[in-house]
Symmetry: C2
Subunit: 246 residues, 2 copies
Amino acid sequence: MFHLNKLYVVGIGPGAADEMTVRAMKALEASQVIAGYGVYTDLVRPLFPDKEYLETPMRKETERCRMAVDAAMSGKTVAMISSGDAGVYGMACLIYELAEGNKELDIEVVPGVTAALSGAAVLGAPLGHDFAIISLSDLLTPWEKIEKRLEMAAAADLCVAIYNPSSHKRADYLMKACDILLRHASPETVCGAVRNIAREGEEMHVMTLQELREYKADMFTTVFVGNSQTRVIDGRMVTPRGYTNA
Amino acid sequence: MFHLNKLYVVGIGPGAADEMTVRAMKALEASQVIAGYGVYTDLVRPLFPDKEYLETPMRKETERCRMAVDAAMSGKTVAMISSGDAGVYGMACLIYELAEGNKELDIEVVPGVTAALSGAAVLGAPLGHDFAIISLSDLLTPWEKIEKRLEMAAAADLCVAIYNPSSHKRADYLMKACDILLRHASPETVCGAVRNIAREGEEMHVMTLQELREYKADMFTTVFVGNSQTRVIDGRMVTPRGYTNA
């Protein structure tokens, strides 16, 4: 019988084990090897202590994915894990790119709860209508492109979930992003930020776009910008779809 | 001791029970009453046959949510379920609106895997970079607003996941949407469609934006439009983040 080498690409959700889907759990259980960035493998290791782990430091994405592909090609069932969803700024694309033309590899992407969804649930319901997810990381994307996307999103009155709002090298990027959004959006637009989603020290803040401009986000923060209809209900950030007007 | 009435608002994912998070499972287990649109309650009933069920037909969203709030206020622990994520065109916003000012109700939103993520995993990795989620339903949103959002998304070279691409009354909306996207995007832009995600009869198709214009989507279809970098790799739709160029 022809044997296909199995490689799962698994989104493990925001952090806590309970935020993983049952399908993700089963994929990890079915795997002999779990590959990923050390922070994420540390999250699943207590659940699956007897697996073989392949870890790489941050920013070694290509090496990490190549290790996972090689391990799968050696005949082992492998799960390559990402936080959140494996397809949203995750490793799924890179796995497909590295495995291009490889007919002996069976790649299965297992979706997960990305930070836009898990962070939104902490804030209330900020993404109840059309929205965009935009990363402020310009490591792999020209800043001009990010700027254009922010501007168009605000012009279209889309809610926005902002990933990677800040880092040591990009301390003022969130402020720059707010200034672009303010070209079209009101300074009173309801915004929110969630830090350490589904992990120890989880915290959320609701504020205006003007206040977000001064907010000190870090790399564990996901930021939410409302649309013109977003409002604060009992301390939560809520974007109505319009049922109560219908 | 002061007793808060508990109302979970739970995203159950695309359909199959395995696509639910462990946290969603536990919320349903902890509830005495499960409320929702009949199609969704039918999905969870086999898992939790002994619960009390509150069901309403489609388009009775406000009544459905009010029933759930009332049941929780009567002292029962209630789970209001949505397919996908409860905050993405789901019931979470409406629950917050209906419960405004109610200090005796403890609302907890439990996030889930929305169709953009579950459909993307079937297609490969179409949402590997910044993207927008836009619904073509103009029941609660003026068409001009939807049109503007599509146009701005294409102008910003965002990938787009299109929800509610079609219905009986709106048979030509996807074609109209493609025409708007084509003002900025190439007719060769890689697109995809997934039908019956994580359910019986799941199918996916990869095509160009020009072909998508003629595609017959139904209400069980989620549509994906790539950005200028999206390509087909071994039959899958993949939007690279750029690691392999870095």
